[in-house]
């Protein structure tokens, strides 16, 4: 928190003047924020307990939606697939982003160019990315399988055409897209580690690997924590990439929670049931964030 104007607590007039001024600054943004973000989050917890449909007629149905979800095989498939994506996407992206950041945090000619290159996928739209990668992954004629064939892989995977390989394909693209973004956060974190620490470690005879473990990693703890939180949320809400790349298929092999919400809500108009599934997504993201914060706090103290 920054320094604040020094207010004298007894001066009521100043406080009320500041309140008016403060609110007047915040209000233009807050009105939109409250109506379009806060209110929907609150309403979510009502709609999930109703059978709200396209006509907007809703009866309170208690926990019916949640009981239905319990027996809904598609819901569990979607949840399993989302966890599958997260379990691989998070560590892969974390490692790739950190690796890139370490590479680019050195005095090399052209680092700026490489940084731009690494960030480029992140600013490219999902639709363009998905369609290019689908061509690259094309099982019979695509360059990726041609490359695999050239290095001696006899039976290259079918990627998005195969139920087994569609999820790995999506994970690869997801990692490719986001690692540049998290790399930037790591780079910013690396800049905060004092150079003297490295010099001291070096005079003590620490090998590069030891310097990495004992200086870099502890110095990056805050950044790593923050990146992990963002990555976790990003993984669990994954949607548009998969929607455009595979549409959830083949079969239900890449169906994820967000897409299931979309299907139930916007394709089948079951707003009540879709909201119940939304609450699961909400709880996962919020819960994991809170747990991560608590663990981080305990480790700090």
């Amino acid at each position: 928190m920054a320094t604040l104007p020094r207010t004298r607590p007894r001066n009521r007039r100043l406080v009320s003047r500041n309140t008016v001024a403060g609110w007047s600054f915040i209000l233009p943004n807050f009105v939109g924020f409250a109506v379009l973000t806060l209110l929907p989050v609150v309403v979510l917890f009502y709609v999930a307990f109703t059978n709200w449909n396209v006509f907007g007629v809703a009866d309170w149905t208690g926990t019916a939606n949640f009981r239905r979800m319990w027996d809904d095989a598609s819901f569990w498939t979607a949840l399993r697939n989302t966890v599958y994506y997260a379990v691989f996407h998070i560590p892969l992206t974390l490692a790739a982003a950190l690796g890139l950041a370490l590479l680019l945090n050195r005095k090399l000619r052209g680092v700026r160019f490489f940084r731009t290159v690494a960030f480029f996928p992140y600013i490219t739209s999902i639709v363009a990315i998905a369609v290019v990668w689908n061509q690259l992954f094309s099982p019979e004629y695509g360059p990726i399988n041609a490359l695999l064939g050239a290095v001696g892989v006899d039976n290259p995977p079918g990627w998005t055409a195969s139920a087994t390989w569609s999820m790995p394909a999506v994970i690869i693209v997801g990692t490719w897209r986001y690692m540049g973004y998290y790399m930037l956060l790591f780079l910013a974190g690396l800049q905060t580690i004092p150079a003297q620490l490295y010099e001291a470690a070096e005079t003590d005879g620490a090998a590069p690997w030891q310097r990495f473990v004992h200086v870099t990693l502890p110095g990056l703890r805050h950044t790593t924590f923050f990146v992990t939180v963002l990555l976790t949320i990003e993984s669990f809400k994954v949607f548009d990439l998969i929607l455009v790349m595979t549409g959830g298929g083949p079969g239900q092999s890449t169906l994820v929670l967000s897409q299931y919400i979309y299907q139930k809500g916007f394709e089948e108009n079951q707003f009540g049931y879709a909201s119940a599934v939304s609450i699961v997504l909400f709880a996962i993201c919020f819960g994991i964030t809170v747990i991560q914060f608590m663990v981080n706090k305990r480790r700090n103290s």
Partner: protein, 298 residues
């Protein structure tokens, strides 16, 4: 979860540090070589899809997939870039997207920086709780409240209008975060002096903070423009009429309509990426600083 926890102070990215510039030249040269090799490899992997996109967009449709793969277009089919305008509603899509991106960017920059001033410089009861509400939404994915938001927007008669996209994009928390973080680096003495000179809080915002925060405003504007330009889910849910389609939505319908026109699909993709790519390359510095100082996506 407190506000301070989240606003991890991250400085702007400067020239890379020179850790360990001691002796052992030979080893450092070897390390440098390995570093370069790794970088070139990584860059090749990162750029391959873009290379493919551009090359395929200049091929005839039959040449896109060949055995063995041809890595350069021969002949170069510039015609694709003319045909695409006739075969699709590219003009409408680009026009809609440009309009939306400009309005959203303007609104976000204005309301975000205005609110950020309130959070950073005016002390009033309830301020921190209010800011916590903004911070808390980081942990709440849009996908989890898109259903009730859609219900609300339908009640407001906004769905299937371009206004719906403006509404869902323009009031996000990102502008508030980014600008607040920047304002807090501006010395308080400056505004204190202005207050003594009789400037109101609005005057301080307008005459002192805004001019000083140009780089941060540029960062925010670039981030917002890109986010809105690339948004696919918002338009997918809200824009049903063909004449309202944005470039992402249009491109995707084009892909499903002409799914065997591989070359033209790539042409459309290049056109959809190009404006953002140009803007990104021009304003790269602001872009990267913006991301580094908020760690937030739009």
């Amino acid at each position: 979860m407190t506000a301070t926890d989240l606003s991890t102070p991250v400085p702007a990215i400067a020239v890379p540090g020179n850790h360990g510039t001691s002796a052992r030249r030979v080893r450092s040269r070897a390390g440098r070589l390995v570093g370069y090799a790794a970088l070139v490899l990584a860059a090749a992997g990162l750029l391959l899809p873009f290379f493919w996109m551009v090359v395929a967009s200049l091929k005839t449709n039959n040449d896109v997939f060949t055995i063995p793969i041809t890595w350069l277009p021969d002949p170069v089919v510039w015609r694709n870039y003319l045909d695409i305008w006739q075969r699709s509603d590219m003009t409408t899509w680009l026009g809609n997207t440009l309009l939306l991106s400009v309005i959203v960017t303007f609104l976000q920059v204005f309301t975000g920086s205005f609110a950020a001033y309130g959070f950073a410089r005016v002390r009033f009861p309830g301020r921190n709780a209010l800011f916590l509400a903004y911070v808390g939404t980081i942990a709440v994915p849009w996908q989890s409240y898109m259903i009730p938001q859609f219900i609300l927007m339908s009640k407001l008669q906004l769905s299937n209008t371009l206004w719906s996209i403006v509404a869902i994009q323009a009031f996000g928390a990102i502008g508030v975060f980014l600008m607040k973080q920047f304002y807090e680096t501006i010395p308080e003495e400056l505004s204190e002096a202005a207050r003594v000179d009789g400037l109101s809080e609005y005057g301080i915002y307008r005459r002192i903070m805004l001019p000083l925060s140009r780089p941060a405003l540029a960062s925010l504007a670039l981030l917002m423009f890109t986010t809105t330009w690339n948004d696919y889910l918002g338009p997918l849910i809200y824009l049903r009429s063909p004449e309202l389609r944005t470039i992402q939505l249009g491109l995707n319908t084009f892909i499903s309509q002409y799914n065997a026109e591989y070359a033209l699909i790539m042409t459309g993709s290049v056109l959809s990426v190009l404006p953002v790519a140009v803007i990104f390359l021009l304003g790269q510095r602001y872009f990267i600083e913006g991301v580094a100082s908020t760690g937030l996506k739009g």
